[in-house]
């Protein structure tokens, strides 16, 4: 198991945003995390990246416990993320956005001076490759704030990949995208997986999640209510209740009958 959450909980005062959630991602899979609004998906991501400290439970990657690590240390362990509402460095160019994000394990081993004070590193081969991969090569010297919405999404994903992560957490990458865009996005996510990156996809758009994930876990009110393949999860009564707002199975059955 590659990314493992063990009995992870996060309470904000009396609110149990994430309540005793356990997950285990396999190397090289695309894992979906879904749930209605307020079910604790983003909090889970923030617990994995270290933006929040869990109330209890642990996060580990390839057997190494990350729970006590600060955010920047987790990056060098191989965790990267994107944000639900794009957070680029709008005052930097596209290439520079990738340049500042080169904080992976291998990159950190460079000599201090050449890592921080050698000018022109934004034209390195790694960055060029990533720009081409993200179809942003022609925009490399444009300020990130001047990109279109779709380009911003692509750049944010490229920035997350710049540290050569082992697991990529995508927090609602299809927010604001149309169905057509979603198909392109699905292709991109598969391409990321084919680079050898395990993907944890948090998404509302069911067409996207059901189409590309290998396995899915469903959260509701901070608790995991189901886990399995897309087909298994779709048929799960509790999941249907959570999404349709129903209370229990009988009501669901009546509705579908």
């Amino acid at each position: 198991m590659m990314l493992t959450l063990d009995n992870l909980s996060k309470h904000f005062g009396g609110v149990r945003a994430v309540d005793d959630v356990s997950l285990a991602l396999k190397e090289g899979e695309i894992f979906g995390l879904i749930g209605p609004n307020g079910s604790g998906k983003s909090t889970t991501v923030n617990l994995i990246t270290g933006l929040y400290t869990p109330t209890s439970g642990t996060v580990s990657l390839n057997g190494r416990d990350l729970t006590a690590m600060p955010q920047h240390a987790r990056t060098s362990q191989g965790v990267a993320r994107t944000f639900q509402n794009i957070r680029l460095f709008g005052n930097l160019t596209v290439a520079q956005n990738l340049w500042v994000a080169q904080n992976g394990h291998e990159q950190r081993r460079q000599h201090f001076v050449s890592r921080w004070f050698r000018p022109g590193g934004e034209h390195s081969g790694d960055i060029e490759e990533l720009l081409t991969f993200s179809r942003l090569a022609s925009k490399r010297d444009v300020l990130a704030s001047n990109l279109s919405f779709g380009e911003m999404r692509r750049l944010e994903m490229a920035r997350a990949l710049a540290s050569n992560p082992r697991v990529l957490l995508l927090d609602e990458p299809a927010a604001g995208a149309s169905l057509d865009d979603a198909e392109l996005l699905a292709e991109r996510i598969r391409a990321v997986r084919d680079r050898g990156v395990t993907v944890l996809l948090i998404e509302h758009m069911m067409e996207l999640v059901m189409g590309i994930t290998d396995r899915i876990a469903v959260l509701n009110f901070g608790r995991k209510i189901a886990e399995g393949t897309p087909a298994q999860v779709q048929d799960h009564p509790e999941v249907r209740a959570a999404y349709l707002g129903g209370g229990h199975d009988e009501k669901m059955e009546k509705a579908s009958a």
Partner: protein, 305 residues
């Protein structure tokens, strides 16, 4: 001629002051502590030459290092506050430094007279330049050599990954952390570097005026320090230099015939500049400190999601 050389000297030391604020501002920290750092550098360098007979160069270096150390200590609590709260906190630190020198007396006998800081009366007879036969022109050249070195170093840093990283932190701390940048190290590092530059500037300043006192290092100086990079923009170090030349050369000296009325002009200019060039004279880049970030609320620990 001496008037213009004197003006060049003022512009030189104020450029260092402005650059010290520039480095810190790149990371999004609006620091009003730069006048305090400048004061520490001024007193330390003056003590080195007047009391202990150092040459000016090591004196300035020691002043820079001592100030950098203090700035590093200030940098840690400064991490915890942002925006206006940081302004208030650093302002309080600057006043604390000023009041320290208001009360600080340490005089030793040297060459038949007592030299050293003397509380409210200030520190007199910082006479390294006249004692060693440096003419006004020599001093001016010396100052601009130091300014040129500092500017060259900062220009280099600005164009390396470090400069991009400072700007990234200034733009969005949450995103910067998420890509593996160590905010503590970067923000404290910027504060330390800024402190060092301000300390060196203060050290030179003390020697050009030969007499320093606490009153000089007040809120007005702190305001000037931060106004330079804001007015000049964060695009490059040259914005700050242009702003210093404009404010010190034109507004303060050029308009001297207007008497105290020019202070009004100074205020008006800042307001106008903020309206017409909100990102400064040079450069698009400005930390979005006083604008609410539309997405901030998402990461507040308010509830689930």
């Amino acid at each position: 001629m001496d008037f213009y050389l004197g003006l060049l000297q003022i512009i030189g030391v104020h450029t260092l002051l402005g650059l010290s604020a520039y480095v810190v501002l790149l990371t999004g920290q609006v620091s009003m502590a730069q006048a305090g750092f400048y004061a520490i550098g001024a007193y330390v360098a003056a003590m080195c030459t007047a009391m202990f007979g150092f040459h000016i160069l090591p004196a300035i270096l020691v002043a820079g290092l001592v100030t950098a150390f203090v700035a590093c200590i200030v940098g840690f609590p400064a991490l915890r506050v942002k925006g206006l709260m940081l302004v208030v906190a650093t302002l309080a630190f600057g006043e604390m430094v000023r009041m320290f020198f208001f009360n600080f007396t340490w005089r030793i006998e040297r060459g038949g007279e007592l030299v050293g800081p003397n509380g409210a009366e200030g520190f007199r007879a910082i006479r390294f330049f006249p004692e060693n036969g440096w003419e006004t022109g020599d001093v001016t050249v010396f100052i601009w050599c130091v300014v040129a070195v500092i500017m060259a170093v900062l220009w280099w840093v600005d164009n390396s990954r470090a400069g991009a990283v400072l700007r990234a932190v200034g733009h969005d701390e949450t995103a910067a952390q998420s890509i593996g940048l160590n905010l503590t190290a970067i923000k404290v590092g910027a504060m330390t570097a800024g402190g060092m530059i301000a300390g060196m500037g203060g050290g030179i300043y003390a020697h050009t005026v030969t007499h320093i006192e606490h009153l000089v290092f007040g809120v007005l100086l702190a305001t000037f320090a931060i106004a330079y990079p804001i007015l000049g923009g964060l695009g490059s170090v040259f914005g700050t230099v242009i702003a210093v030349v404009f404010i010190q050369g034109f507004l303060v000296e050029g308009l001297r015939f207007m008497g105290e009325w020019r202070s009004i002009l100074f205020g008006a200019l800042i307001v106008l500049a903020m309206n017409f060039r909100p990102t400064g004279l040079l450069g698009e880049r400005m930390p979005r400190l006083f604008k609410p970030r539309p997405s901030e609320s998402k990461l507040e620990p308010k509830g689930a999601e």
